[in-house]
């Protein structure tokens, strides 16, 4: 299926988009923000390319959201692109968090906004959940659904260690995709 070339992302574009996401992403859910801004709105990256980044970012050590930002920046524009994404996603929040720490050291209570925070964190999570549901809707074949379910149950519900689980699941899932591709082709 021929696809139109994705729009080119310039380095300032990458910095701008990731800075906005860094400042807006209260309560986490950064993968959701990135999916919306990078894949849906700007079409800088395909859905499959993005999801490969999600998996890669989780499997490799390091904070998932920072890993995903680095991956997106690098796939778009190489190491300079990754640097822009890194600065954008971490720089402004770094300044904000130190500002909050300063308020805290002046004796401002942090317990007061814990309740509001709980709500905002839930809204942030909704972003990730919506992304998961949106991408899940595109999954057609049964074998892929089995992989989704097994991944969620073992890592989410049963809390099995992630690395051994994905070390088995990823090759199995690739083999299934390959077999499925051959059956269709």
């Amino acid at each position: 299926m021929p696809e139109p070339d994705p729009p080119q992302a310039s380095l300032p574009d990458i910095l701008r988009v990731f800075t906005a996401m860094g400042l807006a992403s209260f309560g986490g859910g950064l993968a959701g923000w990135m999916h919306r801004e990078i894949v849906e709105r700007r079409r800088w990256m395909s859905e499959e390319g993005f999801l490969a980044g999600v998996a890669l970012g989780q499997v490799l050590p390091g904070p998932n959201s920072v890993n995903l930002a680095l991956y997106i920046g690098q796939q778009l524009r190489g190491v300079p692109g990754a640097a822009m994404a890194f600065i954008g996603i971490l720089g402004p929040p770094f300044v904000v968090i130190l500002g909050l720490a300063l308020l805290y050291s002046w004796g401002t209570g942090v317990a007061g906004f814990a309740v509001v925070l709980g709500g905002v964190a839930a809204a942030g999570l909704a972003n990730s959940l919506a992304t998961g549901l949106r991408t899940a809707r595109r999954i057609r074949d049964l074998s892929s659904w089995v992989v989704v379910a097994v991944t969620f149950i073992t890592i989410g519900l049963l809390r099995w260690p992630m690395i051994p689980v994905v070390a088995v699941l990823i090759p199995a899932s690739i083999a299934l995709a390959w077999a499925g591709g051959r059956a269709r082709g």
Partner: protein
Amino acid sequence: MAERLVALLLVFAPLSLVSLGGGPSIFAEMQRQAVDVHGWMSAGQFTDLFAISRAAPGPGSLICALVGWQAAGFLGALAGALGLYVPSSCLLLAVGHWWRRRGDSPARRMIERGLAPVAVGLIFAGVYALLQADGAGWLEMVTLALCTIALLRGASPYAVMAVVALLYTGLQQAGAIGS
């Protein structure tokens, strides 16, 4: 001072490379190092810093900057952040470089098709884990459900966050939630 900066780097750089699955997997060790091993702060202070890191935008792992700040001021915050982010970032870029060079080959397409369902499962697992870590009650669950529906129907996440923050602030001021 210089010793503390080195100590911060030595605490966070190894954590960077073992932080599989992201921030939550290393918070416990971070707390042990900062409170018990180095005595940079009390357990209560660490809990407060955790709350601050949840209140700020950006990745939750930025608590590393707060720990560094508490231990050694602004330079400490920088040392904590660089220590936690640089080692894992280098590794990711190395793998990403190799991946990018594959280009649009059929093999890469196949790998991406296989990774996709694992990634979707991991997204759901991550939401579930964070809900548990936050100790979400019925109010948060309802918020999550309503926000998800709104987002799936195309609402802007900026608007959703703003509405929730205003609503919760109003409810709290009215004494309906919290204490």
